[in-house]
Amino acid sequence: MAHINEKEEFLTKVKEFVDSCKKCGFCKAVCPIFKTSEYIETYSPRGRMLLLQGLYEGKLRPREYLALRLYCTLCGYCSVKCVSGLELTDAYLIGRAYLHSNNVVLSEIRTITENISKNDNPYGIDISVKSMWIDFLPERPTGKSKIIYWVGCTTSLRRVDTATAAYQLISSLVGDGVGVLDSEPCCGWPLYLAGDLEGYKKQLTKALEVIKTSGAEVVVTTCPACTRSLRDKAKELGISNNVRIYHIVEYLKEFEGRLPKLKLNETITYHDPCELGRHMKILKEPRQIINKIEGIKLIEMRGNQLESNCCGGGGLYLPLNPERSSSIALNRLSDVPRGVRKLVTACPSCEVQLSTAAQNAGLDVEVLDISELILKALTATDR
């Protein structure tokens, strides 16, 4: 999406959506925000489309009250239901950019964007902490490498187990030193979600420059948002470099035929992260990888693949409304098949969101990243 700082540009971009929306309201059936806001229409996907229409017609003006209702988790389930086949999250993001260009920035969102500019991560934690996960590795990464593990802000600061497992897994697959960046910046994705398109472009350029300078040829991440930002959005903006960037699921898929023997007697379920599943359409691959494990039993969640329910952790929604976000996570946990105690996913934000909700509710569900599962299956086989 191009930079929107002019009303004319907003009008042009949003027109297609406004004209094509049939207002059927079928999107409302699956919206996690609508469900957890006691079904107030203004919090529904159709409501968001009408808010955009109101802005388009000049009957509504950018302000905080509207912004609070335009923001959602950007899970994209509404688009699956859209009779007109619209990618509704694109429309919401056009709206967010328009709000930002009108200086309507919610305080919680401003904190995130300021954190990125000050500390290179959305959490406002000193950047040095971001590499502390390395201390938990059996051996420290050494020197430069052609293959880099891009840990990402959320994995490094919130999911150390995922970070260490992913690093060890990639190392065991390539059989050679895997590098990490000395000072890994934020990929900029939260700025994009906040509608700060100029800021995003700058941050993304900086991140790509750091990768380029490292001499890496391959970058592997555990974060779908980082993958979308560094690869897909960069390509769309014409600023990508020649480095090959993979999400860990894609990378494992590349190795599918050459994967060592995997064995683990576990019954698990898999949660499709919205970014990886609905947005990147990586739906079969994680299942194919999981099913490579001898002894594994994968039971699907109620609502999976394109119809996966949201965990509530995306779209910068968590800081805006932690209570509603937590209710969404609890709803998602209720989709775990009876008797299953392990929930595997492939996104650090989903992991944080679901494990926190499970813990707070006293549910006996362990949440782990696909890297952790595969590493465990690999280690179990080694023994």
Partner: protein
């Protein structure tokens, strides 16, 4: 109203969280699914209980404020759109459901969606008989107010056929309990049925009790393709003429099939029409039923008949029907949805008329729908809701409605009247019964709503 004082007073009465009056909420609640209609309410009241509805209707009565009841806002005819201000009464928060398997009934509050009710029934091995296409979002209250039906209409008709009793709040706040939650009842004038299809113009339906039906032991699905649209329509007529009772009996014309195939790439054969039937019964009888239907389709020159009993395969052949509305919606920015119903013997004439009218007005009109009960939905595809093309589309839709009435049918089957079909309703009533019926209806309205505050501007108003 509109005055901040009255809105504050309303907030005092109901609690501030139950009243929305910011410009964004007012804008959003001014729309339904009809595309061409919109309005500006003064405020929105979110009802969580019958008591909330009573309080609002007392307040509205006292201050002569219009009240527009609303479920999911999926009306295709402008039913819940506020014409001249007033208060939108959002009933979606009232969504309790109670299945009573022993008595074969379900009680649901007005704001529960049809799908929520159905899912609750399924936990007990039953299902809710009515299934509008919008079931995932459409509410029980809205479906009652518009007399909605759906695919299973071939067997169960519209919601009118399964409602037993209801709670209604009248203007002024009086609560009526109409009907009785039993399968047979003689309670004088049938007021429960009067409220069905009344579109919020008489009172507010807050909850109702319905018959439920057992889930079929086995299901079978048959999809037949025809080279002649009238052969398909005759096949439907023959099925009903021979006394067969399919659960679903759907019709799709060539424009629909082409649209579905171009959007979803299903590899459908080029055909003038297709008919989809669902049959249900005991495991031992399902094959015989399927063969009976299959033979009727072949008798009527079907050139391809697909059959499925496996759930995955059934889902696959259902894709052609399921994708109809989305596919047509993707091809045309604006769609006028028609909703005629004709006697089954006249179905071949009606489908032929769709083709003729389409040609006459030079607008594409797809015919698809629940033909098993004579109900055809026409989709007039347009590029704009203004100008000459819109005029032609609008006239074509009107002409089809008139043809349906001339064939002994009705211009409105299950989508309600709202604003879109007011003129068609008046024309049909006068053609069928003369002015007197209209006067009786207006008198009924006055008895229930003497101040005229309930959903003004809809139906006959």
């Amino acid at each position: 109203m509109g005055s901040p004082d009255l809105i504050d007073k309303l907030k005092d009465i109901l609690g501030p969280d139950k009243v929305l009056s910011e410009v964004e909420d007012i804008y959003v609640y001014g729309y339904d699914s009809s595309i061409v209609y919109s309005g500006v309410p003064w405020a929105i009241v979110r009802a969580y209980s019958t008591e909330d509805v009573v309080k609002l209707l007392q307040f509205a009565d006292e201050h002569h404020i219009p009240v527009i009841p609303r479920g999911a806002g999926t009306s295709l005819t402008g039913g819940p759109v506020p014409l001249n201000g007033g208060i939108i009464l959002d009933l979606r928060p009232m969504n309790k459901i109670n299945v009573n398997v022993d008595d074969g009934v379900v009680e649901a509050e007005a704001g529960a969606t049809v799908d929520e009710v159905d899912r609750e029934c399924r936990k007990y091995g039953f299902m809710f008989p009515i299934d509008p296409a919008s079931a995932e979002v459409a509410t029980i209250g809205g479906t009652l107010a518009n007399d909605g039906g759906g695919m299973r209409g071939a067997r169960y008709g519209t919601i009118r056929n399964v409602v037993l009793s209801m709670e209604v709040v009248l203007p002024g706040g009086k609560v009526l309990n109409l009907g009785s939650p039993v399968y047979k009842q003689a309670l004088g004038y049938e007021l429960t049925q009067l409220l069905v299809g009344s579109e919020g113009t008489l009172g507010v339906i807050t909850k109702a009790v319905f018959k439920i039906v057992p889930l079929p032991e086995r299901l079978g699905r048959i999809l037949a393709f025809f080279n002649d649209v009238e052969d398909a329509a005759r096949a439907i007529f023959t099925i009903r003429r021979r006394g067969l009772q399919p659960l679903v009996l759907e019709f799709m014309d060539d424009i629909t099939l082409q649209a579905v195939d171009s959007v979803y790439k299903l590899g459908l054969p080029p055909a003038a029409a297709a008919v989809l039937a669902d049959v249900d019964g005991y495991a031992e009888s399902i094959e015989r039923l399927i063969n009976t239907f299959k033979n009727i389709f072949i008798e009527h020159n079907a050139f391809k008949v697909d059959v499925a009993t496996d759930p995955k395969e059934m889902e696959r052949i259902y894709a052609a029907r399921k994708g109809a509305y989305p596919a047509l919606s993707r091809l045309y920015p604006v769609v006028i949805i028609g909703d005629v119903c004709v006697p089954l013997s006249k179905l071949p004439k009606m489908v032929r008329a769709v083709k003729d009218v389409s040609k006459k007005y030079e607008v594409p009109i797809a015919a698809v729908g629940h033909a098993g009960d004579g109900n055809l939905h026409t989709f007039t595809g347009l590029h704009s809701a203004t100008g000459d093309e819109w005029e032609r589309g609008y006239k074509a839709n009107d002409e089809l409605s008139l043809i349906a009435v001339e064939l002994g049918g009705s211009a409105s089957a299950e989508h309600g009247i709202g604003m879109q079909k007011k003129h068609l309703l008046l024309r049909e009533l006068k053609l069928r019964s003369g002015e007197h019926v209209v006067e009786i209806m207006k008198d009924i309205k006055k008895i229930f709503d003497p101040k005229g505050i309930m959903n003004p501007g809809k139906l006959l108003d």
